[in-house]
Amino acid sequence: MRSEASKGLALSAPASLYVGALVSIPLGILVVYSFWTQTYVSIDKTFTAVNYREALTDPLVRHLLVRSIFIAGMVTIATVALAYPIAYFIAFRTQKKTLWLLLITIPFWSSYLLRVFSWKLILGFNGVLNSALLSLNLIDQPLTFLLYNELAVVLTLAHAWAPFAILPIYVSLQKIDPSLLEAATDLGLSPAESFFRVTLPMTVPGIVAASLIIFIPTVGDYVTPALVGGSEGKMIANLIQVQFGAANNWPLGATLSLIAMVTVGLVAILFVVLATTAGRRIR
């Protein structure tokens, strides 16, 4: 009989090696590429930081990066704020928890591409919403502010990521010991006070988890800005894709990917630090 430790290592090794290799090797090569340069059809392999200089001084890159962070931040706030009451409802106000959780996760399992595409059809100039409002005589001109802007991107992403906000918050609400809430009531706290001083602080870990799960992938989202963002709502991923596609400048694309990743990482770390201190303070 081999020891417990070696059995555990042997069984988990294929999965962790697979993920480890497919994270570290591509990232390593990405770093190397980012120091190379594209010369028309071939790649010049002399080490240079010219891509970084170009990317960091280009106002377009900075603009898209700031916008991506901003949009992802708005999406995170909107999704968490909209989801919190639902998580609360499922945790405390309904007996049919499983049914509700299922209802909320089902739409998420349909194709992401198709859901985003559907929002484009809803918000378009001749789209579902405008035509519905027109035929109800609520408006006499199609609304033009619906599609191809940052708002459309935020709305679409807030829809796409809803379950990722609801589930972690629900789990953290579930963990609250009811006797704590009873104690708060017995000590004379109003329902609102006991929510802000007991329930909310205890769900900070859930809120932080939900925010990270939404924020990190959203910064690098490609489909939504491409379909509903227009030129006003383009994000950093669209620029990266152009480098790997039409512009055919892979080294610059690699540089942009790395810059985006580092930026996301820094913002995420900053957020976790801020949120945990804030969580401690309300308590």
């Binding site: 106000r93 829809h159 990190i216 992938p217």
Partner: protein, 265 residues
């Protein structure tokens, strides 16, 4: 607790409004896929099935469907096998760097898609693997692994260890025990994992967009069709079929998942 129940009477109404928000975009595709007109707008023009009927004649679509089925099938098998062993290790054994390993296999969930896609493209090309279905399969196995591991973990959580010990005591070998005791008991979990990971792969777009080269998967094919307004009704019909397929697969997966765990979600 009774005081809480009376507080915020609008909450159930909000919950229903939220469901409407969640389901409207999803249900829109099927509704307009039966519409006898090429413009997606109210009022509806009348019912037709012709958009569905036209799908069968499109060769590139059929090829893309086959590509997606192959990719999804292999990625599901690969990620579920990796997940099966890893989950067993995480649930059964204590070993060095266990937490690190458990965190590592969840990493694919939180790396932005564009970074996974661009870095994998560069790596595959660097090692001489041209963008192809093979590249997509390797990528999708990576993306689906966290789902396989979490489903298999909950399957092993419910598993009574003493059954295996009994099998050893009765003289079964390690492999025999795994095959004749462990596997049959966790098989609903395996089926659930296969279905979920297949769905993850089947619906994935960005990675396939970067890695599929001239062998498009179904989402990549849909992406190429979205630009043409004339193709819109066909795309809606195709989308509706995919929607139905995904939801059916998930309902079946949920059924099997529940058979492994008696605790609700």
């Amino acid at each position: 607790m009774t005081r809480f129940r009376r507080y915020l009477p609008g909450l159930p109404a909000y919950a229903f409004a939220y469901l409407v928000f969640l389901y409207t975009p999803v249900l829109l595709l099927p509704v307009f896929s039966f519409n006898d007109g090429t413009i997606v707008a109210f009022p509806l023009k009348g019912l037709t099935l012709k958009w569905y009927a036209q799908l069968g004649a499109q060769e590139t679509l059929i090829r893309a469907l086959f590509n997606s089925l192959i990719v999804g099938g292999i990625a599901a098998l690969a990620s579920t096998s990796l997940g099966l062993f890893a989950a067993r290790a995480y649930v059964r054994y204590r070993f060095p760097a266990k937490e690190m390993s458990e965190g590592l296999v969840m990493l694919p969930l939180v790396i932005p898609g564009i970074i996974v896609a661009s870095s994998m493209l560069i790596m595959f090309v660097s090692i001489g693997l041209k963008p192809s279905l093979t590249a997509v399969i390797l990528g999708h196995t990576f993306l689906a692994l966290p789902f396989a591991v979490s489903i298999m973990k909950s399957a092993f959580d419910e598993f009574d260890q003493s059954l295996e010990e009994a099998a050893y005591d009765l003289g079964e070998t390690i492999i025999g025990t795994f095959r004749r005791v462990t596997l049959p008991i966790v098989s609903p979990g395996i089926i659930a994992s296969l279905l979920v990971t297949f769905t993850v792969s089947f619906d994935e777009f960005v990675l396939a967009f970067f890695l599929s080269g001239n062998q498009p998967t179904l989402p990549v094919y849909i992406w190429s069709q979205i630009r043409f307004p004339a193709k819109l009704p066909n795309t809606l019909a195709l989308g509706s079929i995919l929607l139905l397929a995904s939801i059916l697969l998930l309902v079946v997966a949920e059924y099997f998942r529940r058979r492994t765990s008696k605790t609700s979600i």
